[in-house]
């Protein structure tokens, strides 16, 4: 098998098994003597049946669990994936090296890497490494140094202030130098209109330039905001006029409106991640790039 064919199998492993929990795909992709190891689990999982137990346990504990592949590299029969895992512990207990952890209600986002060995189209081994300390701290099982209620409040205020500067100064006023002040150098920006995340400060400056070139009068208004721990979530609306090429669509001078939700992650007073969800199809329709075929006349 080529390394490209092996990568395709590895993507199916993440999309169909880890994220969609399609257990029948485990029978298709895993070798009979498949072995799965990860440091947060006390014992390895053996064979397709053992692996089904792990996937079922994970989705039971974190019904919204997502493993987003950031990078994939391959040579010979090995594929290595670098991923970001996230989820909210709203379900059953999490089986772990610290015992079974009952529902915490908390969200986690961590980094990990997995070493997959794939032979003749079957996955023989999955050796994972993840931020073991990070996940258990974020779930509140292990204390972090900066955990105390009064500090937490001011910490959340600081996070809100950063988010406010992001919308007002960066997005609405186009002050690109503020990006360097409020965002971490390893910043990641995920938006459904782009196939790959925007990474780093310079790439983010380019993104904002492109957005403001398309809509020079763009204005974000925050409709609702929640801050908790290291996260801030914002529901926003925007208005603007389509005066420059955006996402390949030449200027139409159409007024546009969009709405969406951004989730910010903040570490040490810097924004490290923004996940965007917006009405991207509506935006494309308003720019005239997609016809309004689905419009129902009441």
């Amino acid at each position: 098998m080529s390394t490209e064919a092996n990568k395709a199998i590895a993507y199916r492993y993440y999309d169909e098994i880890m994220n969609a929990a399609k257990l029948e795909v485990i029978d298709e992709l895993m070798a009979p003597d498949f072995l799965f190891t990860i440091p947060t689990q006390p014992e390895p999982y053996h064979g397709p049946e053992g692996f089904k137990e792990l996937v079922t346990m994970l989705h039971g504990a974190f019904p919204d669990v997502q493993i987003a592949v950031e990078d994939m590299l391959a040579e010979g029969d090995t594929v290595v994936a670098h991923w970001t895992g996230s989820g909210t512990h709203t379900g059953s207990p999490l089986h772990s090296i610290l015992g079974d952890i009952p529902k915490t209600g908390k969200h986690f986002t961590i980094d990990g890497m997995t070493w997959l060995r794939i032979v003749d189209g079957k996955i023989l081994e999955s050796l994972a490494n993840e931020d073991t300390l990070g996940i258990l701290q974020q779930l509140g099982v292990i204390p972090t140094e900066s955990q105390s209620s009064p500090a937490q409040t001011s910490f959340e205020e600081v996070n809100r202030a950063l988010v406010s500067r992001y919308f007002n100064e960066v997005m609405n006023q186009g002050k690109l130098d503020v990006i360097d002040e409020i965002m971490a150098s390893n910043f990641t920006f995920r938006i459904p209109t782009l196939p790959e995340p925007v990474r780093g400060l310079e790439a983010m400056q380019q993104f904002v330039l492109g957005l403001r070139n398309g809509f020079p009068d763009i204005k974000f208004t925050i409709e609702h905001e929640i801050a908790e721990g290291d996260k801030v979530a914002c529901r926003w609306t925007i208005t603007g006029t389509h005066k420059g090429t955006f996402l390949g669509v030449p200027a139409t001078n159409n007024p546009v409106e969009d709405q969406g939700i951004d989730i910010f992650r903040i570490t040490d007073n810097k924004i490290t991640e923004i996940w965007v969800n917006e009405n991207d199809i509506g935006l494309m329709q308003q720019m005239g790039a997609i016809p309004l075929v689905a419009t129902v006349k009441a």
Partner: protein, 146 residues
Amino acid sequence: MSVAENKIIVRNFWQEIWNKANFDAADDLVAPNFMLYLPANPEPLQGSEGLKQWANTVYTAFPDMHYQIEDEIAEGNTVVTRWKFSGTHKGAFQVIPPSGKQVTMMGISIFRIADSKITEDRAAEDTLGLLQQIGAIPSPGQPQNH
């Protein structure tokens, strides 16, 4: 640069800096804009100075530190190493006093290389397991005092 040449650069990185504690080798091996991403650090460590500082932190705590390369692959401008760290906790590890414990830790590092210099090292490693082995975090499944 070929992937074979990139693999040699990364093996030198492990051998010189981490196994021989020859920290000055960092000046030749990494680019000025080098970034080291570790799960335990919220911000990346930068440049050869950042790398030397971190290597010295680990060396102070584990003077016999050793990274065994278990496996490696390379593609394009990247090299990935799967490694096993071992060492004896004879000195303070940041704020954690020496425990005298022998530890091992598994990890994976992804390196990016440009013009024969390492520009990025991103690691996934079992920090929790390490802290449990040196007694900084209790392990409920194991006896506490031996």
